[in-house]
């Protein structure tokens, strides 16, 4: 396992550039860059799949911290709901982190193919339904309220179907720890459509959660030598720069066509990984 890879300055430059693109697209589309980064590092650069996954997981932690900084102070992050769901997602993350070393590449390819296919379907079918109560309503113990700039009023919401949220969070943790994806793309639509959390609050809460979830498995993969420090550093720095650009650009772009493009890319990535598993 040790030093199988010869890391050249060119590899570092390519990985960093891939990080910029993945981070930029990820921030633009509201998901982590992992769905782009993992297939790129594995299929294009030729890194072993597990190294690609572990590298991506490091960038997930960085993305989580950066996105959370940008949403702090606007009451969008639901700290209590996030912490409760983190119990579930971290459990999934720890389990996946411990199992990771023993899983075959075939199993991981199958999982990656399945999850990217599922995400493609979610992206295509995503409904921007609003879940808003009257401003005087009591949000309950887990709900929240925040001030929405567009409408200029206070938004109040209550959390419904908590067991569903906990179940999906476990799954998101497993996906995070075994496939290097943040898992936000699974949690955000679920929190929004099934659990009554407005989209923005769901996205901000999920962004906060993916860092701890990834940190629940990343150290184990690090200890098992699935992290090549120079490559991980290049990817993390690239993603940090890219997500900054994506957030800036995201304020001005209509992302509809990008979502269609994303769904098409994901469908392709999904098929490729199913084919690799066979």
């Amino acid at each position: 396992m040790d030093n199988l890879l010869l890391i050249t300055p060119l590899t570092i430059a390519v990985v960093m550039a891939a990080g910029v693109v993945a981070g930029g697209l990820g921030a633009l589309l509201g998901l982590g860059g992992g769905v782009f980064l993992v297939p790129f590092l594995n299929s294009v650069i030729g890194l072993p799949f597990k190294i690609a996954v572990a590298t991506s997981l490091m960038t997930v932690i960085a993305t989580s911290s950066v996105v959370s900084v940008s949403t702090v102070g606007r009451n969008l992050i639901n700290l209590r709901l996030g912490m409760l769901l983190e119990v579930a997602s971290a459990a999934g993350g720890v389990a996946a982190g411990l199992a990771f070393h023993f899983l075959s590449d075939q199993t991981l390819f199958l999982g990656f193919g399945f999850v990217t296919g599922l995400i493609a379907v979610i992206v295509l079918s995503r409904l921007d339904r609003r879940n808003v109560l009257d401003a005087t309503a009591d949000p309950g113990r887990l709900g929240g309220r925040y001030y929405e700039e567009e409408s200029g009023r206070e938004v109040v919401y209550r959390v419904k179907r908590l067991p569903v949220a906990l179940g999906v969070s476990v799954l998101a943790g497993v996906v995070s720890g075994s496939l290097g994806l943040g898992g936000g793309i699974l949690k955000v639509p679920m929190l929004n459509a099934w659990c009554g959390v407005p989209l923005r609050a769901a996205a901000a809460t999920s962004a906060l959660m993916i860092g701890v979830t990834a940190a629940a498995s990343a150290p184990i993969q690090y200890a098992n030598h699935y992290i090549q420090p120079p490559l991980a550093a290049a990817a993390v720095l690239g993603v940090l720069a890219g997500s900054r650009f994506g957030l800036w650009f995201g304020g001005r772009a209509k992302a509809r066509w990008l979502k269609l493009l994303l769904a098409a890319i994901l469908a392709l990535v999904s098929i490729v990984h199913f084919a690799k598993a066979l």
Partner: protein, 103 residues
């Protein structure tokens, strides 16, 4: 209810500060490590610095959880203090497994 949401706002503020420090520090350390790796690849320094940067990166969300438990205990919100402790217990499993694998 207001005092409670004030306390939550304070927690959110501290969390934000922690993230700014964590991200800035890890990015700076990783950048230095990467520069060392590229321009002085033979020294032992590069890997040490890179590893330090990655450790800061991984520790940042963990510190956020520790910060939260302190704040929930101060609030006297025992349900969420317990929830946070459960996450800390899970993260301890991770850290212990990582340390054992490393040895």
């Amino acid at each position: 209810m207001t005092t409670h949401s004030d306390a939550l706002a304070r927690l959110e503020y501290h969390v934000g500060r922690l993230f700014v420090v964590g991200v800035t520090l890890s990015a700076a350390v990783l950048a230095v490590g990467l520069a060392l790796f590229l321009f002085a690849p033979d020294g032992p320094g590069a890997n040490r610095v890179l590893n330090a940067g990655l450790l800061v990166l991984m520790a940042t969300p963990m510190l956020r959880v520790l910060l939260s438990v302190v704040e929930y205990v101060r609030m006297g919100d025992w349900f969420f203090a317990g929830t946070t402790l459960a996450v800390i217990a899970e993260l301890s499993v991770t850290v212990i497994s990582a340390l054992r694998a490393k040895v």
